[in-house]
Amino acid sequence: MSGIASQLINLFAAMLLLLAFAMISQRRVLSLIYLFTLQGATLAAATAVVGYATHQPHLYISASITLVLKVFLIPWLLHRVIDRLNVRWDVETLINIPTTMLIGILLVILAFYLALPVSQLSSSIARGTLGIALACMLLSFMMMITRSKAVPQVIGFLSMENGLFFAATAATYGMPMVVELGIALDVLVGILILGVFMFQIREQFDSLDIRHLEKLKED
């Protein structure tokens, strides 16, 4: 039983990593959002499976929170934003994709190397996946660095949060409930504020290209 569960978890973990790479390689905003939704769904599923396997009811709750927040609410918000501001066109990255991929692979190796000693100590059934979680985080971090438009940056930020959630689940069957709730709340408020910002940026610079946001500097 737990054997299947752990296999499932590893599968989901692998999917998460795959999705992270996919996001890095993705040019179009719309498909970025789709990928993000998919990532959220995978995360929720993984959480649920862990919860089922380890009979931890509160993981169901966090799974459902993830589902609601990251599969329905946030993608919906993002869709609205890009409809309103119609910025559905392609995203040009600052570094070209293949290079990014290469760096990404290096990052994955680093993440595994870092996570190895730690995951040895973990008692969780999903211990092997901590490295993947870390890798996802670093990958989305890099995605934020390489993207020059606001929306993809935000998506990177959110998928980083996904990585964190997964890490929490994988390493420690999730954080205490109150913390989970708090984090969820912050994420929600954060995305709302970001949404508002994007409108304001748009009306200020009539573009969401954050290369307009380079006025404040040392000259």
Partner: protein
Amino acid sequence: MNALFDCTHLNGVLAVAVAWLVIGVAGVCAMRRVELVPRILLPAGSVFGVALFAIAAHALFAPAEAAVLPIGLPGLPFHFRLDGLSAFFLMVIGGAAAGVSAFAAGYLRKVEGEMPPGLVGLQYHVFLASMVLVVLADDAYAFMVMWETMALSSFFLVIVNHRIEENRRAGYLYLLIAHIGAIGILLCFGVLQANTGDYTFANMRVQEHTPFWASMAFLLALFGFGAKAGLLPLHVWLPEAHPAAPSPVSALMSGVMLKTAIYGFLRITFDLLHVHLWWWGLLLLGIGLITGLFGIVFAAVQVDMKRLLAYSSIENIGLIFAAIGLSVLFSSFGMTPMAALALTAALYHVVIHAFFKSLLFVSTGAVLHATSQRSLGKLGGLIRYMPWVAWICLIGVLTSAGLPPLSGFVSEWLLLQGFLFTPELPSSFLNMLIPISAALVALIAALAGYTMVKFFGIIFLGQPREEQLAHVHDAGRWERAGMIWLACGCVLLGLLPAQFIQFIDPVTRQLTGAGLGSTVAANGWLLIPVAAERASYGPIIFLAGVAASFALAFLLVRKLYHGRLRRSAPWDCGFPWLTPRMQDTAEGFGQPIRQIFESLFRVERQLPTPFDAQPRYRVSIGDHFWYWLYLPVAHVTERMARLIGLMQQGRISVYLLYSFVTLIALLVWVTR
């Protein structure tokens, strides 16, 4: 350790400091009443100065007293201690402050600059009080607090005329150098406390240091206090700040504040550090003499009278440090009597410099007040219109020129005597160097004479170079009083060296373990530091001799011949269109020095061409240090700042990259 409010010297001194603070605050409370400060407060302050002088003089011979105030840092309340060294410098402060305050009472009648007189009075008295407390402080924190308060209050006094841009610049330069020096002193204390976490001087005294740490402490102290005293190459603030400040303040800064630096340096080198390495002495001697020569050579070519005096202060500080260096040299070889001799010379010079430099600065103040003219080229002939100032100033000038029988000569004499003992040093290498130093001292002294003749001659003698000089007024009552007090100091210190050395004796005993007191006391009016057949100097007999032959000559001439006198125009060399403007100028008087020491200056000349409509000749004397040290440092800083500024060019991806790289690096580092 004594309770507050019982009648001890220390409490007396503290009372004076508090009184000064109260006076200052009183001035602020009645901010609008312009005449309050000069009429009542400053005279009162000067009275307290006299009181301080008396108390300190009495305390010199009393055992050390200590007190702890309930303020300060937790576990480190303010410790105050009044021992010989502090008492001596308190005498200096009190003596000079009394005269200067009295002068200021007359001087500040006219509102100086933009600041209301109340505020000036506050800063002035805070300045005085902080100097007193610096000298009293017995722990590092109290010392530093008072030290910086002193710097701060004097800084505000320097920029009293803050409308003028170069005054602000002068104040800025001053405070900057003072602060950096203060950090040096602070680090020096950090070395001295030796990880005990106890910052009292009592603790520092008992610490034993390795030669490395001891030298570190010494060098930091030299840096810190040198910055305040104006040693090369940290002297640049001095000639800027002194002219900018009101004259009484310049007098205090130059006459007294520089001495607090000497005090701090002595306190650390002789009191807190008890090992002396011989190269310390050599270093001090070298820096001191170079500073002295540099200072006097620059003084000789100045055209602004206050700048001239500022540079001459640099020279005097250099001589004092040279004497201290000699003393350190001697004591490092355990020759305590000679160390005491050299130190006596240093301390004597400290006192007389306090008096004559204050006197000269206040005289320039009086001239400035009457003529509102600082440039020598526009003065002249004032001895006829302001005789009081002129004749009193003459005393200061002769003292500063180091001429017998006035006091300036005594310290010089003692210093040279000290040099004569150097052949007894065990190291022949040092013996080679010392004569050169003695020669330098002689040269500096002679140049001082040159400079002072220029100073006095151009300002007070000759014919007025401007018309309006013909109707200037002489100094007022209070101004005269202050000047006379200071002048008396110069004269008496010159005539009664044997008596005054009794006051230096406790200090040298405390610092070097030996003193001249007993030997000097042995034979009354003659000053005999070691033995009669070695050297002796009797200023009073000296003066009597000159005076007697003066009088005899006078009487005989009148008796045997006559005293007839005719007035007529001076010989015009057959050129009837002579005007006062054709007299020798300050530049002209300094020209030989400029030629001989050409390499020391950075001279920029504007020579007229034959085709100029109205040809003009302009020459400006620059300071090499400014161009070789300060500007490069500024440029390097600027370039580094520009490089570092590149870090921040506004692109968020780059910022994210920073965090990313930092994260990765950190992770790799911690898990290595």
